[in-house]
């Protein structure tokens, strides 16, 4: 055996494709050949289709629903209305935020696009004909689209079902259209600091309503097998286990008789976290008809009725000393929740993690209050590629920093640097109660400023301004800065649950006799490449090549319980569970190896893919050998097989952060902006797969570009959704999208088993402020302090006009 050379640790490590490798994705073979399996690809024997009759108006009493013409149509099998669901107690359903929502219009409609009746038929075509034949008589009511008018004395009452309730899921209600008031921090102390401050900046920062709009819309196939009493639902679920539990609770079908499967998902971005009437109606229709029912919404339905994001009016005050040391932060937010509070937030956080709004800064005292109100708009309030309300919080503080810098006459890069939480302050407890795990903001900021040559940029900007003032150019240059701190990985069961379900996650690993493996998780990929990256975590933990590890997610009958994929929680929570389960495997493997090598357990040590005898590296057992032994050796005191499961309850959230710079040129006459540079430095802790991280950053930046520069869900005063198609709802094409520069620093999370923090959402959180700040920065010399997003052509033009730049 001596003549066989043992490959070096480095060689063996590289053969694993573990942590830090830009491993190519295993998912891609299917997707590039058109062999993905999305919900609309599922075809079951005898399957019927279902679709909704939706309300054309935003607020009305439903006087009558006549389904006779639809039912008379050949090919239409059933039409469900609230009256049909009521005996089952399914005409309303609980929302994730402790409110309830109509499944089908119960006496009135509260937003345009609301589900009124569910038509079931042979195929999409018959169903569409049926839908057009259902006659609904509406008696229109006054419409409230402005959240500031919702609480006026004579405002129409939207939610008659709870009009008299003085208490809601999150405390006292003061008006029939008021949902909750949520407070954090020190109110009096903050007011005192503001009163006595040398400088106070005061601004209203609006983060407009938008929508995650994944390319695949929401849908499901529900199949009730009456023979064995089992309900199977395939659907676009970002949290399949939570859907199973909720489905069981509201349908009374025992949870073990429900199987939820998330097949391939064509993007989620938060849109597919919630439970929608389509799922409930498909299940009921399957129970009624005894055959599988498919429901897939169309794009307009998706933009009109499924979960929106943002819509926060954030009034802020920030105080500082004359030389720029921040002394306090105050924020009052009016949150427009639409007709039902269906925000996807952990129970104790009705405004999500908005209380991360102190951002990256060491702010001694702060106060936050959020008021949620009902309006005649679609429900939702999901995190759109960000952790719960974190992009709102980050946008707020990054705007307030800019506004304060203007007031102080100080460069905002310097103001940031002056107030960053210092490296040695970590773990750092913020004024609003979060414990930031780790970071080195100054290092990241300096790297960013050097990389983009910030000083030179400011020089260029001055020159451009001069040209503009001399009438030689109609363009202004804007430099948008942002330093964000995300809070992801929800979360510790002690403070994070959704509908009472603790937000842990789990991984179960089985090593096969020949040394390959399968790992199952409670999460579900929607493009993040879990099958690739989780295998890499495991490869490094258990020394089996990533290519020999199959990853399986999304089937509640086989996967261990987990809360799913959103809020950048997969890596911080499920990734940790994966590492921990791997460590359990390794611990058992150590015992087996010691037995095989005939030494004491403590006398073997781990070496990349094997255990070797301490001091005698030539004596070893590889994981492959150990795996085989575990199946065919009777080892005293050790059970056969090599399996492990870990349920990971994270001790804390993780706090990815980053420094972004956007440079753009703005034509003041047309409002057209030309993005010259986008630089994104991310610190997501340990980097599992740099290629995938970079891809996530590109995608998130593009969503940030879209949101800040044009994307919105706009309503007119009658409550019509004016952006219901992809012509008006802005999604940039390859042509409008710039090329990005990415960069990184690496500050591992101290409490995460492998130090990873999550990255999917960072570029959206950091990007929106950077793009928006660039627009503001361009007009700063003319006195602009705040202009609301989206910064589409006409709104940018309006800024220029209002500043008198058009003569």
């Amino acid at each position: 055996m001596d003549d066989v050379k043992i490959p070096s640790s480095e060689e063996r490590k590289s053969a694993l494709s573990g942590l830090g490798t830009s491993r190519k994705r295993v998912e891609d073979a299917r997707f590039t050949q058109g062999k993905g399996n999305y919900v609309d690809d599922i075809k079951l024997k005898g399957m019927l289709f279902g679709d909704f009759v939706r309300s054309p108006v935003a607020h009305a009493r439903v006087k009558n629903i006549d389904t006779s013409a639809a039912l008379a149509l050949p090919g239409v099998h059933a039409v469900l209305t609230a009256a049909d669901l009521e005996p089952l107690g399914l005409h309303w359903m609980p929302t994730l935020a402790g409110d309830k929502q109509m499944v089908l219009a119960d006496g009135k409609v509260l937003f345009q696009g609301q589900e009124v009746a569910f038509v079931v038929g042979d195929d999409r075509y018959a169903v569409a004909d049926g839908v057009s034949l259902v006659e609904v008589e509406y008696d229109e009511l006054p419409v409230v689209t402005d959240p500031f008018k919702a609480e006026l004395k004579d405002a129409p009452i939207l939610r008659e079902d709870i009009a008299d309730q003085k208490e809601g899921a999150h405390g006292a209600r003061r008006h029939p259209n008021h949902i909750f008031t949520w407070e954090a921090g020190e109110k009096e102390e903050t007011n005192k600091v503001l009163d006595e401050a040398e400088v106070v900046a005061d601004e209203m920062v609006y983060y407009h309503r938008t929508h995650p709009c994944p390319l695949e819309t929401c849908g499901c196939v529900a199949s009730m097998d009456k023979v064995n009493g089992k309900l199977t639902v395939w659907g676009t679920f970002q949290a399949p286990h939570a859907v199973r539990t909720v489905a069981s609770l509201i349908s009374s079908i025992p949870e073990h008789n429900i199987r939820i499967i998330s097949p391939d998902i064509g993007g989620g971005f938060g849109n597919k976290v919630g439970v929608y009437p389509g799922y409930i109606c498909s299940i009921v229709a399957s129970i009624v008809t005894g055959v599988p029912i498919k429901w897939v919404e169309d794009r307009m339905d998706n933009l009109m009725a499924t979960a929106f994001a943002r819509d926060y009016w954030m009034h802020g005050k920030i105080s500082a000393t004359k030389d720029g040391k921040i002394t306090g932060l105050w924020c009052h937010t009016t949150a427009d929740h639409g007709a039902f509070d269906a925000c996807a937030d952990p129970t104790k956080f009705p405004a999500g993690f908005m209380n991360i709004c102190t951002g990256s800064y060491d702010i001694p005292v702060a106060y936050l209050a959020v008021d949620g109100v009902y309006t005649n708009k679609a429900p939702g309030g999901v995190a759109y590629r960000c952790s719960f309300r974190v992009t709102e919080a980050s946008y707020f503080i990054e705007r307030m920093i800019e506004v304060l810098a203007s007031k102080l006459g100080m460069d905002s890069a310097e103001l940031r640097s002056k107030n960053f939480i210092k490296k040695e302050q970590f773990p750092y407890t913020s004024a609003l109660g979060w414990e930031y795990d780790s970071g080195d903001y100054h290092q990241a900021w300096e790297k960013a400023m050097t990389s983009v040559n910030y000083k030179q940029l400011r020089e260029d900007q001055k020159k451009q301004l001069q040209l503009f003032k001399e009438g030689k150019s109609r363009k202004l240059m804007g430099i948008g800065l942002s330093h964000f701190t995300e809070i992801v990985g929800a979360g510790p069961v002690k403070n994070c649950d959704i509908l009472g379900l603790g937000m842990f996650d789990a991984c179960e690993i089985r090593i096969h006799p020949t040394g390959s493996a399968i790992a199952r998780l409670g999460t579900i990929s929607q493009g993040q490449g879990h099958a690739t990256t989780f295998a890499q975590i495991l490869a490094s933990e258990i020394g089996i090549p990533a290519s020999d590890i199959t990853l399986e997610e999304g089937d509640t009958d086989t996967a261990p319980y987990g809360l799913g994929t959103y809020g950048s929680r997969s890596t911080p929570v499920a990734g940790a569970a994966t590492a921990m389960a791997g460590r359990k495997i390794r611990a058992k493997a150590q015992m087996i190896a010691a037995y095989l090598l005939e030494v004491h357990d403590d006398d073997v040590e781990w070496d990349v893919d094997r255990f070797s005898v301490k001091g005698a590296p030539e004596k070893f057992k590889t994981m492959k050998e150990i795996a085989f032994a575990s199946y065919n050796q009777a080892i005293p005191g050790v059970e056969p097989g090599l399996e492990a499961v870990s349920y990971y309850d994270p001790p804390n959230m993780t706090y990815p952060n980053g420094a972004y710079v956007v440079v753009m040129e703005i034509d003041v006459d047309t409002g057209v902006s030309d993005i010259k540079k986008v630089y994104a430095l991310d610190d997501c802790g340990t980097r599992i797969n740099p290629m995938i991280i970079e891809g996530q950053v590109h995608g998130g930046l593009t969503e940030a570009l879209a949101i800040s520069m044009g994307q919105e869900i706009a309503y007119d005063e009658q409550g019509n959704v004016m952006t219901g198609t992809l012509m008006d709802f802005f999604i940039p094409t390859a042509w409008e999208t710039p090329t990005y520069e990415t960069d990184y620093t690496e500050t591992p999370s101290p409490h995460h088993p492998i130090g990873a923090k999550g990255v999917g959402e960072s570029p959206n959180v950091g990007g929106v402020s950077a793009f928006s700040n660039a627009v503001h920065d361009a007009f700063k010399p003319f006195g602009l302090t705040q202009a609301h997003m989206p910064h589409d052509h006409w709104r940018v033009w309006k800024i220029a006009k209002d500043l008198g730049l058009h003569n």
Partner: protein
């Protein structure tokens, strides 16, 4: 409503189906012929997820009625490569991380497939303009553009090798 017969050649195979005239081509392909590669993203001809090749041109199959495709030669993503021999685009999308959730990918690849025949040696800017009828929500396009540029180069190299072999 009366159904009619529609014949077309899909991925080299003669297909005949009996459908209502209003049947959209994308449904004819996905539901009647079970080529589920083409996806539906917007239904309004904005997103390009349903892009296929019809008579040598890229079209959005959600905005074509099946009878309009009578006698047409259709190519879908299922028809451009095989598991044993992937098309250069399929390989390069994988190599350069040109996809994430995969939903836009078949449309994106089919558009690129035709685009590279229209312009075998494109600049990056031309690629961006050439795929501007296809939306992607995940990738920010940067790696898609990279993948297409790489595929273009691979296809050119292969063509050169073939030429040399013939010579």
């Amino acid at each position: 409503m009366e159904k009619i017969n529609v014949s077309m050649k899909v991925n080299g195979k003669e297909e005949s189906l009996t459908v209502e005239p209003r049947t959209l081509l994308v449904h004819a392909l996905r539901e009647h012929l079970e080529y589920t590669g083409a996806h539906i993203g917007c239904s309004s001809s904005h997103c390009g997820a349903c892009t296929i090749d019809m008579n040598g041109k890229s079209v959005k199959s959600c905005t074509v009625f099946a009878p309009q495709a009578e006698g047409a030669e259709i190519l879908t993503v299922e028809g451009i490569g095989s598991p044993d021999k992937l098309h250069a685009l399929q390989e390069m999308f994988k190599e350069h991380h040109g996809l994430q959730c995969g939903y836009c990918t078949p449309g994106m690849i089919m558009r690129s497939y035709r685009f590279l025949q229209e312009n075998p040696n494109p600049t990056e800017e031309e690629v961006r303009f050439g795929i501007s009828g296809n939306l992607c929500r995940c990738t920010g396009y940067q790696n898609i553009v990279k993948s297409i540029m790489a595929a273009a180069s691979k296809i050119r190299d292969e063509a050169n090798v073939e030429k040399k072999e013939i010579a």
